[in-house]
Amino acid sequence: MARRWSGVPLWVYVPATLGALFVVLPLVAMATRVDWARFGALVTSPASLDALGLSLRTSLASTLLCLVLGVPMALVLARTAFPGQRVVRALVLLPLVLPPVVGGIALLYTFGRRGLLGHALEVLGLQVAFSTTAVVLAQTFVSLPFLVVSLEGTLRAVGQRYETVAATLGAGPTLVLRRVTLPLVLPGLLSGSVLAFARALGEFGATLTFAGSLQGVTRTLPLEIYLQRETDASTAVALSLLLVAVAVGVVGLAAGRTGRVL
């Protein structure tokens, strides 16, 4: 294959390589600290398996919740115009830049026992505090903007030509959404979901603040790693590597499906 002219100045490769090393080297350093002889035993202890299972289940649940709420949000932001839209967009993207612990505190004052909605939830017989539901809420709160941003960008990029054509042929808005818009933005939807899932998988601060930490109920993999680090560094490192592997696996799977990395 003939080499295509890249147009990138040679010196750019120096900071680019440094940047890549900066990201990859810590992961390599961590891998060198893993006690490989005991790796299998460490990551398959009941506490580890509980944490991994819980992380996968809650991340999946919060990704689904992100889709249910995020797809309509992205549609409204990308396709409509209303006063204050910019402010609304900035507000819904806020969790991207908010420290997760702040998100946790905010959720506590909303869904907590003495929170804004706490009393109403209690009347309905719903107890969010210290439950797996709280974990899913925390993860959804931090992941939702990833899906919305990703999908909104795709929606704008594909434009409305096909939608207009479908509408002039007599298709109603819901039919256009189902048969034209969503198939067109499927790659963006998939990469947005993967981003949201990965973010949910790594969620730590909001969960710790809002949901607590109990094996099998609220102690997800990142919380288990944080706890194990107190006494057992080798388990913490082994679990960290496991978390990296799961994240890489999910991103790789999505890249394979869409032919591009996010």
Binding site: L108, F130, A157, G212, L214, Q215, R219, R229
Partner: protein, 262 residues
Amino acid sequence: MRPRSRVAPALASTALLALVAACGATPGASGPTSSSAGTQTLTVFAAASLKQTFTTLGTTFEAAHPGTTVTFSFAGSSDLVTQLQQGAPADVFASADTKNMQKAVDDQLVAGSPVDFATNTLEIAVPPDNPAGVTSFADLTRPGVKVVLCAPQVPCGAAAQTIEKATNTTLEPVSEENAVTDVLGKVTSGEADAGLVYVTDVKGAGDQVKGIPFAESKQAVNTYPVAALSGSRQGELAGQFVRLVTGTEGQKVLADAGFGPA
């Protein structure tokens, strides 16, 4: 595309700012330095539960040693030991338990031998209105009472476990937190009905929580050791700070905060 292209750089610059701010706040980044102009900095690594008392003693020390600045890094004792083992520059280390101090001794990080300077016991903390009507340690085992403990991996959780064993009771916590401050947070926010924290934490929280002393707490007394570190370039000054803590003045400040004598 227009609004989106505005959001992205804004987000990027915000993230960069946050990064810079975070870097600036790294505790002990400047390290213990004995500069030429007669000014010197003493860096003290102390357990999180010592924050109030040691901050007071730091001010006292600075007043007695003009030109000296005392900087603190307050964190969980095991976190601090890990940092010391990785070469964090510090002059004095005060641990909330003998186990973590022993780790520092084993790694030859300590100059001389550590001195025990205070003790701390557990107390039941409940929200001011005590919604579950907790009055004794036995009440914590009642079904429906939401109890939050420290995880057994951290000193306050180990103490709780010791008491459980000694009294032959089993607590079923709704959450096992990583730090005593997290337990206190769950109680002050009203999420939990009761938590086991240190006497000094209850005192430090003022009227945000109510403390309920219990006789069984005598089964687990935490001893706090302090030591000058071998890596210190100002051993003399470090020794003086240790003597302040163990001396009459230090002991009075500690006793006022609820610590017991060593």
